[in-house]
């Protein structure tokens, strides 16, 4: 069965300098049996100028839109449109300032999506979903807060889709989102009784900043991507990140009922918190509420969510993602370049420790050097090779500091009185005579050490595992998840523990070999490109089979054509050769037939009505 996938990226895939482009490229190339439509939001003018990667033939079309500028301000809104805009924006602002917990707690995360009231029949495939039984409310208060947060989530969704529909009707909302009425709505919401304490302190520049940020985040609303010839025609919308990148998918789901799959290798909300640390508190509070609610809405509407690691998964659960929708798909890495080293017997010099990575303060090489000093007390012949380049000016300064420390701790030493000595700690770069390739750098070590204090997904550790090396790493980031018992893990900033673990491994070649083999087996099973692609292939089929898009095929006069999509079109395998470009689920549709997507029953085709009454202000306090 050919699945037509709308791949939505933000500052990503087709651009040469995009984030996660390698992953997307491998995914698209690996799934040649499917068709991809790429919808790319570019992040800067420079990125656009640098051009695209070479696209494989299964990418049938690429549509791009800039996030960094606007093509035009959009049409000036008429009186009625302005009023509609004001209503929806005021609702949005009120939700942002409402002061309820911005995200649902973990106890709420098991809530089933169908139990949330669904305005305007936005859940066309509710019956097709696996039904989850909501956790029984443990206490009355938690049930109350759950209800309150569901109410807030619904209000946010209504406002968002209301703005989206207005943008679709009017052909753009850019100028309206920047206008004075938007700022005024924000001000009113901030000054309203029951607003967040921090929001109440918002001053005029804060309001302007928030309005500008919201306008930028909502730019996808003004795109014309949701028609039947674009995202409305795909079988599945795959957003490669949360936040703004997931917004087109959310709208495609709203307008055309296309199921949404969200992949996140890093949580947008967390990135936002870290990036906006300098902003005034009111701005941070409002924007955190906006991003938190957007994330919650994305997770609520997504058919499936694939976090890249447990850390991301925890954040997603925290932000209200339903646990039953989460499927962890680890990032895949090219294993072939380490195959030779991994399969060959261990040829490394005994007593050599290797550290590989980018040199920066977060890697805590100081700890490593202190640990090495302890190791030398036990194993005087031990050597340490630090392979990597400094990252940035800070990294360069740190490297100099480390070199000085190494020279202080370890005097140069030689074989005998007539030989030239050298330091047991060496600093090298990949490509140098000692370590021509990354694989050889790993191969030269009997034990690979990772000493970071802060780490995301430890790529170096995975590479070491591919090379079949025994590892000692600090317990940071996703290290424990990656290593999974096939290496030693010690607390960060504990040189003594690091040293003892290293000494243990240096003295026990049999255990080293066993751990290395286990690590390689684990890496080959979990972190290869192939497993990543296979996982997504399965997820695509699962999503498409669970949430098929219901399309009604119309004839020339606009009447529905019964049996226009034959039963065979839903059966796996190709029955009629490659399908014609236009209708995805109806390969044998009559020529000239139109496909319209139906996002729900006919009676629900209008604007979403407010499903709930506004939150009473007295209950809005956190």
């Amino acid at each position: 069965m050919v699945v037509r996938i709308g791949l939505v990226t933000e500052g990503g895939y087709p651009y040469v300098s995009g984030d996660a482009r390698l992953w997307c490229d491998r995914l698209v190339r690996g799934l040649g049996q499917h068709e991809f439509d790429v919808y790319a939001l570019s992040r800067s003018e420079r990125q656009e100028d640098e051009g695209w990667l070479e696209l494989p033939p299964q990418v049938r079309r690429v549509r791009t839109a800039p996030l960094w500028s606007t093509e035009d301000d959009g049409p000036a809104l008429g009186r009625r449109a302005r009023r509609r805009f004001r209503e929806h924006y005021e609702e949005l602002a009120a939700v942002l300032c409402a002061g309820d917990a911005p995200v649902q707690g973990p106890s709420v995360s098991a809530e089933s999506p169908s139990s949330v009231s669904d305005p305007a029949g936005l859940e066309p495939d509710g019956s097709a979903r696996p039904s989850e039984s909501p956790e029984p409310a443990s206490a009355g208060s938690s049930a109350l807060s759950r209800e309150a947060s569901a109410v807030v989530a619904d209000r946010f969704a209504n406002a968002l889709y209301g703005l989206a529909e207005l943008a679709r009707d009017e052909g753009g909302l850019v100028s309206a989102l920047r206008s004075e009425s938007a700022v005024r709505a924000l001000e009113r919401a901030c000054r309203a009784p029951g607003a967040l304490r921090t929001a109440r302190e918002a001053r005029v520049p804060d309001l302007l900043t928030v309005a500008a940020h919201v306008e930028r985040a909502l730019r996808p609303l003004s795109l014309d991507w949701y028609e039947d010839d674009a995202l409305g025609s795909v079988d599945l919308c795959h957003s490669t990140a949360g936040g703004t990148a997931a917004l087109p998918g959310l709208l495609a789901r709203h307008f055309a009922g296309v199921p949404l799959l969200v992949t996140e290798y890093g949580v947008q909300l967390r990135t936002h918190y870290l990036a906006s640390a300098d902003a005034p508190p009111a701005v941070r509070a409002l924007l955190a509420a906006f991003h938190g609610r957007l994330a919650a809405e994305v997770y609520r509407r997504a058919a499936l969510i694939t976090p890249g690691n447990t850390h991301t998964r925890r954040w997603q659960e925290r932000c209200g993602a339903d646990r039953t929708k989460l499927r962890t798909v680890h990032p895949g890495m090219e294993a072939s370049r380490f195959a030779e080293v991994g399969e060959a017997p261990d040829r490394a010099d005994a007593d050599t420790l290797v550290w590989v990575g980018r040199i920066e303060p977060a890697k805590d090489l100081i700890s490593l050097l202190h640990a090495f000093a302890e190791i030398r007390k036990e194993e005087p012949k031990a050597r340490l090779r630090i392979v990597g380049a400094a990252a940035g000016a800070e990294g360069a300064a740190y490297l100099g500091h480390c070199r000085a420390l190494a020279a202080q701790l370890f005097p140069d030493e030689a074989e005998g009185v007539h030989a030239v000595g050298d330091n047991p700690v060496s600093f090298e770069e990949i490509g140098g005579p000692e370590a021509p390739t990354l694989a050889e750098a790993y191969a030269s070590g009997t034990v690979i050490v990772l000493s970071s204090v802060v780490e995301g997904f430890p790529i170096g550790l995975v590479e070491a595992m591919f090379c079949g090396r025994a590892t000692v790493s600090t317990d940071v980031g996703a290290v424990v998840e990656v290593i999974g018992g096939t290496g030693l893990v010690v607390p960060p900033r504990n040189p003594r523990a690091l040293a003892e673990a290293c000494v243990t491994l240096l003295r026990d070649p049999e255990r080293r070999e066993r751990l290395g083999a286990a690590a390689r087996a684990r890496a080959l099973e979990l972190f290869t490109v192939e497993q990543n692609i296979a996982a997504f292939h399965g997820i695509y089929l699962e999503v498409v089979s669970h949430s098929p898009v219901h399309r009604v095929i119309l004839d020339d006069t606009g009447e529905p054509l019964p049996f226009a999509a034959p039963a065979e079109s839903h059966v796996p395998g190709r029955w009629t050769g490659r399908p014609t470009p236009a209708p995805a689920t109806g390969p044998t549709a009559a020529p000239g037939a139109r496909v319209v997507a139906r996002g729900g029953p006919r009676w629900a085709a209008g604007a979403p009505v407010r499903a709930t009454t506004p939150l009473p202000t007295t209950e809005a306090a956190r």
């Binding site: 955190a288 998840e481 673990a501």
Partner: protein, 439 residues
Amino acid sequence: MSGLGELDRPGTPAGAEAWDAQSGEWLGGQAEPESATETENARVDHDTDSPTARPAPVQPPHTTDRKPAPARRGAADPVKALMHRHRELCERAVDPLEIAAGLEAHGVTDRTATRFRHRDVFSLAEEMYARVPRADTAARHSHTDLATMPAPRAVWAVRALLPGVLCAAVVTGVRLTDGRVRSAVAVAGVLAVAFGVRMALGRGSLSTPPGTPAWRTPPGTRLWTYWLLAYALLGDGLLRAADDGGPDSLPTGIADGPWPTATAPVLALTLACVPAAWCAHHFAVRARRKLATSRGLEDFADSVQPLLLGTFALFVCALAALLALCGAVLGEPAAYTQGITLGALLLLARLLFVHGFTRAPALALGAAAATEVTALALDLIGRLPDCGFLATPVETLLGSWGPGSIPALACGAAALTLLFHTTRTLTRASAHAPADEPR
């Protein structure tokens, strides 16, 4: 993050008592904090459990040979110590998730959180958020960043002075030369002044913010502006000559030819680029300062309106002085009404344009120019046989107030409308929003 290491030292907790009244309630039910000596595979993620690998227990770091050092831990309340370490983060945070994100960025993991008797970083962050005192956090944030704006530098002043200087040079050249040379000087001079004006408007406070796309300029704005200036230079003379049955030759650039040229108002207007640039800069800076200090949008609008009107009045005064000066120096009538109305119109249009409002100035300039074109056309058509009645309104105006009344009326009406519009649009906070994000 300097002291994180001590958190990770294994050891028994310093005391079994609750560290404060709040924590006393749940302390009893909690297990002792785990030490760092458990095996690793117990914490492996469920999805990624490796069936092949034999679990490799971590060696207990140094629990056997060394007594833990509880003294280094200090207080009996570890969370308090952590809060002290991340004091700034805690005081700044607007919600618990922000603390959680900050803690994670400093290397705190769920494993670390268990040492503070919490299930994960999120609940640790929640406790920290609940416990942090925040009374005057908002007061500490000042809005200095918005008020800072690059001061006008000498380069801008030179740029703003350029059109005036060029125009003065051209006027002098035209007066000193004769015949063919004079026409050549006049043509070259017009081009030079146009170039100077573009230079003056291209940078500095009279320019649109960097990154403004070209589509923002409505078509015709530039054309109408040129027309209005050309009319100020030649229009009155043409009407006057037409009244006498002329003109019999092309304008020569001097005031006493067959088609007299009014150089004084144009020279004054080009010189007025300097006060205009200063006024625009003054307005922008003061408005931003008011933006940073005002409590609300209404408050801002109320405080910006007098600023706007004051700035406008200043410019009008400066322009009047320049007109008087140029009239005296060139020995021509100063033509105050035409000059001031046209100058006011151009300044208001530019101010609106700089702040992102493009439709209203284009309309006002177009209306003024169209009025002038109509008046001129009616007057000229009126000379044709049987069309005399068409010219009657223009003739009446010319008869009662002179030829200067036509541009004065056209530009004055447009400037008044625009002034009214400006007091409504430029007093909005959204007009003074910081420029767009970098591209």
